[in-house]
Each structure stands twice: as C-alpha cells, then as structure tokens.
C-alpha cells in the first residue's frame, strides 16, 4: 500500500497482536477515502448541496466464539483500536451459548473496481447542476406543483486484511438519480409520478451512467403525461385481480419478500430485535415451494453494473453467482462464513456449501452483516409487457412504490404504488389512482403466472436498505423483469 505504508505496518502488527491474544480470527477495513455527495433540486431551488468525507479503520475480532468490534477515524490510534476490539471480543465471550466460527478460507489476494469511466467527483458542480437543471426545466409546467430531482454519488477506496493473510483492495463507485413531480388531483389530494436511474446490467457506472438519456433524462415527458392522467383518474376499487408489476415496483417486492427473508442471519435469529425474523427455516431449503415454476431468483447474477456488485465481501469471500429459488423451489440463502457454519451445525446436515459472499458493512465504523447483493428474478418466456397484458383478463399494471410495510417475518406485505393501469380482456382501459395491494408471501409467489423476457428486465438501484444494530444503510441492485401475479387483493375496503 504505497500511499499508506504506516497504516499497513500498524495493521499487520495489530493483527499479530490479536492473534497473540488468542483471537480465533481478525479482519480489518481501512477506508482511505469515503466520499459522498447529495444534490437536491426542489422546485428549481438547490435545497441540498451536501458533501461528506470519511476515513478511518474498523477492526473486528472473533475471540472465544464472539465478535468484538472497534473503529476510529484517528490514524494515530490504530494500536488502541485493535486493543479495544480484542477487549470487546473478550467481554462478549463471557456470554456465549452458540460460539461463532468463521471456519477457514484460503487467503485471497485481489482487487475490484466498479466499472467506471468518469468519477462523479471529477465532474464539476456546475456541470452536474447544468445537467439537473436542464431536466428540471423539462419538468416545469403550470399544473405541476412540485418538482424534485435528486442525485447521489459515492466513491470509496477500501483495503481489507484478515488474519488468514487475505488482502483485497476495492474502489467502489455508485451513482443514484431520481426525479419526481407532484400535482393536485380532483379530490384536492397530491398525486405523484417518479422515475429512478436504472441500469441495463452492463456498461459502466460513473457519471456516464447518469447522463445516458434512455436510463434517466428521457423519461420526463412520460412521467408528465402519466401524472396529468392520474390527476383526473378514478380510484382503484377494492377487489381481487391480477397485478402486473413493472420493474419500478417489482424490484421492491423482490427486495422485501425474497431478499430480506433469505438473509441467513435473519433466518438464524440474529435480527429479531430489530429488522425481524424470517418465515423460512433451515428445513425449507431444497423443500419449500416458494413460488410457481416460473420463479427463478438469483444472488449476484453476474450483473456487472450495479450497486450490488463489489467483487469481494467484507470478510474476504469473492462474490458468487448462484440461484436462491430454482423453478419455484427454495434452494439457497444469502450467506456469510460464520452463518453458514452455524446453520449446517444446527441443521445437522450440509444445508449450505460455503459462504455466498454477502457480508458487507456500510462504513468503516460498522461491522459486516448479511446483505443482499443483486437479488434478481431471471427473465422468463412470456414475452413483452404487451404480450403479458394481452393475455390478462382482469388486472392492473402497477409501478413505483409510495409505501411499503412488511410483516416482521416477511410473511405478509402491503404496498402502495404511484399509478395503476386497468386491464380488461387483454386491453389497457383506464388509469387508476391510489393503488395498493397486499398479500402473503408464499401464496403471492405461487400465483406468479407470467414472467417477461429479457426485453422487460432491468436493474433497479436501491440506496436505502436499512438493517443491523448499530443501524446501517446499504446499496443493493435488483435485476427484475415484468411479472404478473393472479388473485391479489388490491385497493382498500371502503
């Protein structure tokens, strides 16, 4: 590490210290630079022009089957940070019923760079604002009451070491963008339409991602037309019908009811006091019919251009591409090293082959936990959105969440969406406002009756997934096609 030789030296001696203190395992992440920027144009006014920089070191020590963690932004106190982490682990080990065990993994030497041409931090504020203001002007109309344009950028340089001799360098970049407009409907209530920057899964994810018109800026006219229709729309009436989820909504459905319930730390009960548990148990793998035969869900999925692609996780495991749900049957989970060992031991059989490489931390001062990567639904063979609509008797197409509320074990859910298009006998009829739908996870995925082809599939970016204590916000990707589910409860009873 040419630019921080002193950090390198102290980290190596810190790991030696931890091992000399009989630690089972130790890992360290040094963020030499963690930069973030957030811009918000609100009705044309630059209401947020924020940047942040963080740098520091986080040390995690497993001692006597328990984790101790310590972090500091003070590079003058690296030695003390190691000592504190060891001390914390020793204290933790006084109350251990099920010791955690990382197993062994061969040392990893490697690096990962988010594919990027132009760092968003090399683009001047003026150029960024020019770009956003141009879109803002396109959104401006007398009848539009609110306009919001958001842009968020992250760039991180992280070095990872562990006591097995792994050393990994990561240079991660994320670009997020969203636009939203609001207007008053005939009942005097605010309606909204939005669009978020997505990826095709390929290409690069620097500033150049944001300025690709087909991914972001060219959607202004569409959302304006849709909002104008919403303002005159009827309300979605309560009833059971098919719902066709566009990726703008489908990705959140997948996130909440496939991603979260399949995090192994949740399944094993490590999130019970905060995020919740899971209706899935260790007996479910290889057995549980999670959805219809049309459902194939994967982790990572070989997606190059996504916030959920990061090369190596935060305990030195290379990212892996694997199926979670195979033709409707649950086959795997989102796994990390200690969780896999504990699960296999508890089940008394080898439920999981090895770590799925999903342990991630949101910053240097947080410890890694099981996180979604890219949680995808594979494209199906039911053609285009138009093909699916033509094959639908009675349903609604739904897009973009306004609200999401999920049961604590992810067994049931309720979503509100921005817009619905009614379908009767294979034809789009009216636009409907205030759509909501609710269901029970297994019943819902078992009613999956159509999965769109590759042309309907895209990667939606999530930058606000909250989990863990102390709390962490994580960036995730979801490659999803258009999906149709039947007999879903939609709307609210009068």
């Amino acid at each position: 590490m040419s630019d921080h030789p002193e950090v390198q030296r102290q980290v190596e001696s810190g790991i030696d210290h931890a091992l000399a203190e009989d630690a089972d395992y130790c890992d360290v992440r040094f963020y030499s630079k963690d930069k973030s920027e957030f811009l918000l144009l609100y009705d044309g006014n630059l209401e947020a022009n924020d940047t942040g920089t963080e740098s520091g070191l986080g040390v995690r020590v497993l001692w006597g089957g328990a984790w101790g963690f310590a972090a500091s932004s003070d590079l003058g106190s690296i030695e003390e940070t190691f000592r504190r982490a060891v001390r914390n682990a020793k204290t933790a080990s006084t109350l251990v019923r099920i010791p955690l065990d990382m197993g062994t993994q061969s040392p990893q030497k490697g690096s990962y760079e988010s594919p990027m041409k132009v760092s968003p931090f090399e683009v001047s504020l003026k150029d960024k604002l020019d770009f956003l203001q141009r879109i803002d002007r396109e959104l401006e109309e007398d009848w539009i009451q609110r306009r919001m344009l958001r842009a968020g950028f992250q760039e991180r340089r992280v070095r990872f070491w562990n006591s097995e001799g792994s050393r990994i360098d990561k240079h991660l970049c994320n670009v997020f963008g969203a636009m939203m407009i609001m207007g008053m409907d005939e009942d005097g209530r605010m309606q909204r339409r939005s669009h978020s920057l997505f990826t095709t899964g390929d290409g690069t994810r620097g500033w150049e991602l944001m300025i690709r018109p087909e991914l972001f800026s060219s959607h202004t006219e569409r959302i304006k037309t849709e909002l104008s229709q919403l303002l005159k729309a009827d309300e979605l009436e309560y009833g059971k019908r098919s719902v066709i989820l566009l990726p703008g909504q489908g990705h959140l459905q997948v996130h909440e009811t496939i991603g979260h319930p399949l995090e192994l730390d949740r399944i094993l009960g490590y999130e019970l006091s905060y995020a919740g548990g899971s209706f899935v148990d260790l007996g479910s793998f290889g057995e549980l019919r999670y959805g219809s035969e049309k459902l194939n869900a994967s982790s990572y999925g070989g997606v190059a251009n996504s916030p959920g692609s990061f090369g190596f996780d935060d305990e030195g495991t290379p990212e892996k591409n694997y199926l979670l749900i195979d033709k409707g049957i649950l086959v795997n989970a989102l796994t990390s090293r200690a969780m896999v060992r504990e699960a296999n031991e508890r089940a008394g059989r080898k439920v999981f082959e090895g770590s799925g490489g999903v342990a991630r931390a949101s910053s240097f001062y947080r410890a890694p936990i099981d996180r979604m990567t890219n949680i995808n639904v594979e494209p199906g063979d039911d053609g285009s959105l138009r093909d699916i609509v033509e094959a639908t008797e009675d349903g609604v197409i739904l897009d973009n969440p306004t609200s999401w509320s999920i049961g604590s074990n992810r067994e049931h859910f309720h979503f509100g969406c921005e817009i619905a298009w009614e379908i009767k006998n294979g034809k789009r009829t009216r636009i409907l406002k205030n759509p909501t739908y609710q269901g029970h996870t297994l019943e819902f995925y078992n009613s999956l009756s159509a999965v769109g082809g590759r042309s309907t599939w895209r990667v939606e970016q999530v930058n606000n997934c909250g989990k863990g204590e102390p709390n962490q916000t994580m960036e995730i990707g979801h490659g999803v096609p258009v999906m149709r589910f039947d007999d879903v409860v939609t709307g609210e009873r009068g």
């Binding site: 144009l41 006014n45 630059l46 022009n49 924020d50 940047t51 942040g52 520091g56 328990a66 984790w67 963690f69 310590a70 972090a71 932004s73 003070d74 003058g76 914390n88 204290t91 933790a92 006084t94 109350l95 019923r97 099920i98 001047s124 504020l125 604002l129 009451q145 609110r146 008053m184 005097g188 209530r189 605010m190 730390d265 094993l268 009960g269 490590y270 019970l272 006091s273 410890a367 306004t402 609200s403 999401w404 509320s405 049961g407 604590s408 074990n409 049931h412 309720h414 509100g416 205030n434 909501t436 609710q438 204590e469 102390p470 709390n471 962490q472 916000t473 409860v489 609210e492 009873r493």
Partner: protein, 457 residues
C-alpha cells in the same frame, strides 16, 4: 468530552471566516457509542465507536453549500480545509429564488440536562452480566436476542452571525430483549429506555416477561378477521402513529405545499378528537432534552395539537426561509414530543373491562403511509399482541395489520392512560441521535380498521 482547546480552535476558524466576510456555521457532533447485540442467547456483537463529525454550512448570497467531515479535530487546518470545501461549494451553487437563513446561536448555552457519568463510562461487561441474569431468571429454555445501545452525544455550535456558543452533552440508552420459544414460533419483547444507568432494572424486564409467558405458552395464536375493532394501542404503537401524524401534518413545508393530511385545514381548526394534545416540550424528563436546535435556535415548549385543535406548524431553517416564516426550533434530529395523558386507569385491562372483544397491540412494525395527503397509514402488530375479552387476556394474536387514517384513529380515542411513559425512538443510522417521546402508557381507540392477519406471529 469536548475540551476547551477544540472549542477555541473552532472559534478561531469562525473568527477568521467572519473577518473575510464568510457567513458560516460550525457544528461538532461527537459521539461515544457502545452497543451490545444479542443473538441466540449469546453476545453476537460488542462494538464501540468514538466519532467526531464537523458539519459546515456556508451561505453566500442566495447560494449555499454544506460539508461534513468525519475527523479528529486537533488542528485548526482541518477545520479550515473543511470550511474551504463548503465555501467553494456555495460559490459554485445555483442561486435560490429566496434568501436562505444562516444559523445563529440565539442564546449562549452550556447544558447537560441529562448526563450520567455511570452510563457514559459503563463497562460493557455489566451489560453481558445483566443479559445473563435475565436469561437465567426468565428461563434458560428460551432463545434470547436483543440489543443495548448506550452512549454520549455532544453538540457544539458556533457561527459567524455572532460570538455566542452553544454546547450540549447528554447520555442515553435503549435496551431490548426478545425471547423466542424454541418449540413454537412466538416471541416476546421487553424494552427499557432512559438517560441514567440506574433507570435500568433487570427485575422489571424479568417481571414483565414472566407475566406474559403463560399466555403464550398455554394458548394458540388467534387469527383476527378483517373488520373494525376496539384496539388498545400500547405506548410504542401510539407514539409511532402520533409521530407520523405530527411529522406529516404539522410540518410547515408539507402544509404550505399541500402535501400533508392537514393541508386543507388551518391552525385554529379542530382536526382530531378533543382529548388529544401534543406538545414539543424540551423540558419533559421522559424525552431526551435539547435546549437548542441545529440552527442555534433556543428550543421552547411548542404546542402542536391542543385538545384536538391544530395549533402550530413546525418550520426548520430552510422551510422558514422558503415560506418567509420564523424558524420554530425544529431544525433538530431530537424533538421532544409529548402526548398529553388522560384519566384512564393505570392498567389497560381495567379500561376495557366492559368490552366483549378488544385487540391489545403494544407496538407496530414497519409503519408506512400509502397516502400522506389522505393521512392513510399501515403497519402490523409485532410482539406481545393479545386478544382481550371482558378485561381478561384470552390469547396471543397473530401478526395483524392495521390500515387506517389519522383522521379516523385520532378522532376515536376513547381513553388515554393517566400514566406517562418514555418511548425511545432513536436510530443509529450514521450518527447518534437520541429521541424519546413522552406518551400515555396506552390508548383505547374504537373502530380501528384491521385489514389483514397472518397465520403466524
């Protein structure tokens, strides 16, 4: 703790900025945080962080820029560099259509209204010992999880607007334990909150958990049919609903922009039942008390809803500037919301002794709002939820969803407890920000809409 040297350093950089005619505010947020996490009856994480953040905001005519640097602040050059970033950002920013306001420390302040050195210096081993005692006294056959967060938050603020300085230091803690039956699928939870270590009691948690255990061990879960019910909302559920209602209904920006559920109403009009009063009261001991906000404004008792009447709107520094209003002290992460108590008996079972069937929902999980404009919220029961008939607990209930409106629920409060409790609403996303709400220990509400129920807890 923030030493005099750091204060002097920041004041020096502030003075330099003022001399150059720069309008800037400097806020240090320092936390000493500890968290012990429990999973599968073991400590799953024992973590401590000591972090200092310097927040800078520069107003340059109608332009502004903010920059946050997570840093050890031992050198004036570090503060100068961060200021320089914010100055350049403001210079390059787009002009606003209105004049932004600058942070101004209104009164010199050096406050520590809730600081407990025992909590600040708590040995993590004491937390592990307390959990071990709870496990053995409540029953080793159960599987326990939980977390215990404690720490010190310091905020120090100066700005170029004047020479004044404001300093706050306080401690806070949030303890939780979840008990899971190894054979069944039910869980029980207990929480404790406060700013002093001696507010925590192993006995209280053991007593509350053991009193509920027989109900869950001896009865199957009850699946609630959709429909309208009389519901006893516990302090957790009540604080969640009222804080969502206040932050979408009494938020100045949302009201001015017709986004909130009160946008078609005006201050002075009755908007909810006349037994509901909500005040932001930074003097209330059951909240985490902050004497100033992050714009430097001195925080005072501020009525939001008085006997059902819409009293005031909250304006932070940016919405005040945008709409030409005075900031109201709400540029804060730590409001002190207080829901007025009623005359209900201490025991909610007594309050519903004559009701044939009541749902007792202590807390709501994952609340959200499908329509802010119409005041519609949804969330589901989690932990310790019970079916009560004629004042007797009958059985636990499965995960049950409420989807209703503030207008309906807050207009139909029949009874409010006469006992006030503290409900901790802190999160630890990014930085330590203690929040607690003072609320009646329960509310009995009629005609609450239940829209779904699972077959499990």
């Amino acid at each position: 703790m923030l030493d005099q040297k750091t204060r002097e350093l920041l004041k020096k950089v502030r003075d330099e900025a003022a001399e150059k005619g720069v309008s800037a505010s400097f806020t240090i947020h320092r936390e000493k945080s500890h968290l012990m996490r429990i999973g599968n009856s073991s400590v799953s994480l024992n973590t401590s962080e000591e972090l200092t953040r310097l927040d800078l905001r520069v107003v340059d005519g109608r332009r502004e820029g903010t920059h946050t640097h997570l840093v050890e602040l031992d050198d004036p050059d570090t503060a100068r560099e961060a200021l320089d970033v914010a100055v350049k950002k403001a210079a390059m920013a787009a002009e606003k259509s209105y004049q932004p306001l600058s942070e101004t420390v209104e009164d010199d302040m050096d406050e520590s209204p809730q600081f407990d050195s025992a909590l600040a210096n708590l040995d993590p081993a004491e937390k592990a010992e307390a959990y071990a005692e709870i496990f053995s006294r409540t029953g080793d056959r159960y599987n326990y999880s939980g977390s215990w967060s404690s720490g010190v938050t310091e905020i120090y603020m100066v700005s170029t607007a004047n020479e004044r300085e404001a300093y706050h230091v306080g401690t806070d803690q949030l303890f939780s334990v979840v008990l899971k039956d190894p054979d069944g699928s039910w869980e029980l939870r207990d929480d404790q909150t406060g700013w002093r270590f001696d507010q925590f009691s192993v006995d209280d948690t053991v007593r509350r958990l053991t009193s509920l255990l027989p109900v869950f061990r001896n009865n199957r879960g009850f699946r609630v049919d959709e429909g309208e019910y009389t519901v006893v909302l516990g302090s957790g559920a009540l604080s969640e609903i009222v804080s969502f209602a206040v932050f979408t209904g009494m938020n100045g920006r949302m009201w001015e922009e017709n986004q909130g559920w009160t946008s078609d109403r005006k201050p002075g009009e009755r908007i909810v039942g006349d037994n509901l009063t909500v005040i932001d009261d930074p003097g209330n001991e059951n909240t985490f008390r902050f004497g100033f906000d992050l714009a430097g404004k001195t925080r005072k008792s501020f009525p939001l809803i008085e006997k059902g009447v819409f009293k005031n709107l909250m304006y932070d520094i940016s919405s005040a500037a945008r709409f030409g209003k005075e900031p109201t002290g709400h540029h804060t992460r730590s409001p002190s919301m207080v829901i007025g108590t009623g005359d209900g008996p201490g025991d909610p079972l007594q309050a519903v002794a004559d009701e044939p069937r009541v749902l007792w929902i202590p807390a709501l999980h994952y609340m959200n709002m499908p329509s802010i404009s119409r005041g519609i919220f949804t969330g589901s029961s989690r932990f310790n939820a019970l079916l009560v008939e004629n004042g007797e607990i009958v059985s636990p209930i499965f995960s049950t969803r409420i989807t209703d409106s503030f207008q309906n629920v807050l207009n139909n409060v029949r009874t409010l407890s006469s006992t006030e409790v503290s409900e901790n609403g802190s999160s630890t996303y990014a930085r330590r920000a203690p929040v607690a709400m003072a609320v009646p220990s329960y509310a009995v509400i009629e005609g609450v809409k239940i829209t779904d129920c699972a077959e499990s807890f």
